[in-house]
Symmetry: C2
Subunit: 473 residues, 2 copies
Amino acid sequence: MARDPARQTEKRDAKANAAEKAVYELAGEIEKDIVEALAEGDFGRVKDFVGSLHYADAADLLERLSPEERHLLVEVIRADFDPEILSELDDAVRDGIIEQLGIEEAAAAVAELDSDDAVQIIEELDEDEQKQLLEAIPAGDRTLIEASLAYPEDSAGRLMQRELVAVPTYWTVGETIDFMRRSAERADDAMPDIFYDIFVVDPTHKPVGSIPLSRLLRTTRPVPVTDILESEMKLIPAVMDQEEVAFLFRRRDLVSAPVVDDGGRLVGAITVDDVVDVIDEEHEEDIMRLGGVSEDDLYDAAVKTTRSRFSWLLVNLCTAILASVVIGYFEGTIDQIVALAILMPIVASMGGNAGTQTMTVAVRALAMKELTPTNAMRVIGKELLVGGINGVLFALLTGAVAWFWFGDAIIGLVIALAMIINLVVAGLAGTTIPLMLERSGIDPAVASSVLLTAITDIVGFAAFLGLAAWIIL
Amino acid sequence: MARDPARQTEKRDAKANAAEKAVYELAGEIEKDIVEALAEGDFGRVKDFVGSLHYADAADLLERLSPEERHLLVEVIRADFDPEILSELDDAVRDGIIEQLGIEEAAAAVAELDSDDAVQIIEELDEDEQKQLLEAIPAGDRTLIEASLAYPEDSAGRLMQRELVAVPTYWTVGETIDFMRRSAERADDAMPDIFYDIFVVDPTHKPVGSIPLSRLLRTTRPVPVTDILESEMKLIPAVMDQEEVAFLFRRRDLVSAPVVDDGGRLVGAITVDDVVDVIDEEHEEDIMRLGGVSEDDLYDAAVKTTRSRFSWLLVNLCTAILASVVIGYFEGTIDQIVALAILMPIVASMGGNAGTQTMTVAVRALAMKELTPTNAMRVIGKELLVGGINGVLFALLTGAVAWFWFGDAIIGLVIALAMIINLVVAGLAGTTIPLMLERSGIDPAVASSVLLTAITDIVGFAAFLGLAAWIIL
């Protein structure tokens, strides 16, 4: 019997595809297999599976498991727990695992990491745990970590790696390469495993310039390093906020940059992989704050999540009551024309949505430093115009619907006028609120949406009911 | 008279600070100076100023100017226009400038860029302009650019750089370094200016492994490249979506990765700076879509912005009318108890906000691949619990307020019950809507919030008014 080669190829392709998928993200099947083996108590298979995973995938797996499964899995892989897994975990999950491992084991794991990753883990612990963990780390590593921890939270000093390559100004390319090769052969090699630039420093250890490795490699040995260095490199003060660092990396397409202390001396280097994490963090903060959540709480316990969301909802309850007070002011009007009660949410809702559109663009533009005092007036003017045009369009639409629905042209007119007013107000509030918050030093993402909907609700109800009272009654 | 040294230091510090600030972002003063010089017609000074700026800052400046000022500035710097500026501009602004420069000049500028930057500019043009521009580009560059453009939009093929360093498996470290040095001396050097990894390929040009430059530099000359290569490198198919590429870079802390064609042959390399742009783009998309905006339209003309925002508002008008229809169903009830009309927006508003909190976390978790089929049920369960707890808390609060306000315990009871129902529904809808959209292949960020508020509005009004009709009447 002839075999069907097409069929065979297909099968092989499917297998190749599955394998390829597994390369880029943790495949569902692998996850299922591990959970199954865990449930069956086949710990040998679990160990083999997890051992074959990249540490980022192993961290992902741990996050997705239920707390009970996670606890069990950690016990199973405890003996050969890859320290790198810790640096990839979500805070809530990592806390639990560090507790489970105990101080001694956790400290041993942290000590194996690069200084920047170690700092990133330790800074999230509470003070007591920090102290205990640091005490359990060997003195040499501890000093490096403590020096970084001395810099403010979210600063370049916390982000930087202490391990870097610095050479004096009087060296040649050849001497630099020989130095690096010799260091690689030594047991106490203090150079990072992967780096992208080397730094040239003067006798006081102040950076004079940087040299991308690709340039170093393509230059002949006798050339002095000073001939090929990039003197226009950006120095990052160790106290600089990490958001500024991210802005700089993004703006200048950097992969690494030197960090200097108060005296301008080279103390570390920041690499782009850490900056990508900062960018993600920043994004998360923006999107969460706009949605009224303090942080991504996917892995937090229900009680903690409830508590963190409560305060935002409480603020919203107050503004909602305020809007109701405005409605209450027109109790008599509604009592006479109940159609007003039916229609009034439309005006408020449209204002809220139009305002949210404008506000979203403004908050994002502020975060990306695109909206500045120079163009603020122009942007506000444009948003007023957009609000006006859309206001007129939706006034016609909504007015027609209301007229048709209640057979009353005056009600149509009232809702049309209220719509124009509220959409123009929405455009104005959507730009000015974030701008004013930014100017007062408050993150516009935190408070913009609550203020905005308070205004569009109140103006929406007041304009609609007020106009009705005035025109109809 | 003694000079005041403290005063002097302060002054010097202020100057140093200003200079330092200018390094990281375009300082307001420089911007002002340029605008002033432009208005005064002092074009020599304008040229000097702009010439001293980094191209990213020059692009920033152009974006912030009014359309008239921008036009004038482009004329002034036209003779020595830095092509790199084009790749840093917002689409709307770039379009205008390319039109102003004309096809010939624009093509000459684009031809000077790396292939990935050129592709990024050309792909945004409309078909006619694309054709004209491509025709004006020298044949060699054109072929490279057209090959990239043949890959789908937002694919790895569009993102990659064609320039890269690939060496055969039988070379040593020394041969590799010599090859790179020789190439650097040739006029037709086809290697990129900056790169981070070299790739080792077999005779069919399939990548066998990658070598980080730092490792190459630290290895002695006689070592074969196959001894130090990273064989577990991630191959990126040229058709892979850029979001997947970003996920991979982020997950594995990559700075560059090889791109392969259908046949597995090396065709280009993607570097992290382009991936950072993708991450920013992705985030912008998420945040804009959640806010009901199709894209960041800060630099678009008012008419274009109005049009793009109209459709979203139209959808919202429909759902708002639907909610009003629900209210209309209880016209009789409101007619008897006008207090209901006053209080009803509170229930709807709280549901909308609680649902938005949950939805924001869910949409972000889906985007970051943290929310998966494995943990979906657990997350939904948790959100129901959170909704229930907050529902009870806010039921007590709101019930008390309503009771006190209208002196009627029954109204307090009705609003309390409606609040619990709506917050639980909000928790359920906030998780299930994004999950269902994702499963149907729709970006959850696009449609989640409109569906969510439709549900929380309708349930909020229906529960409150329905309970009132049932309990009170």
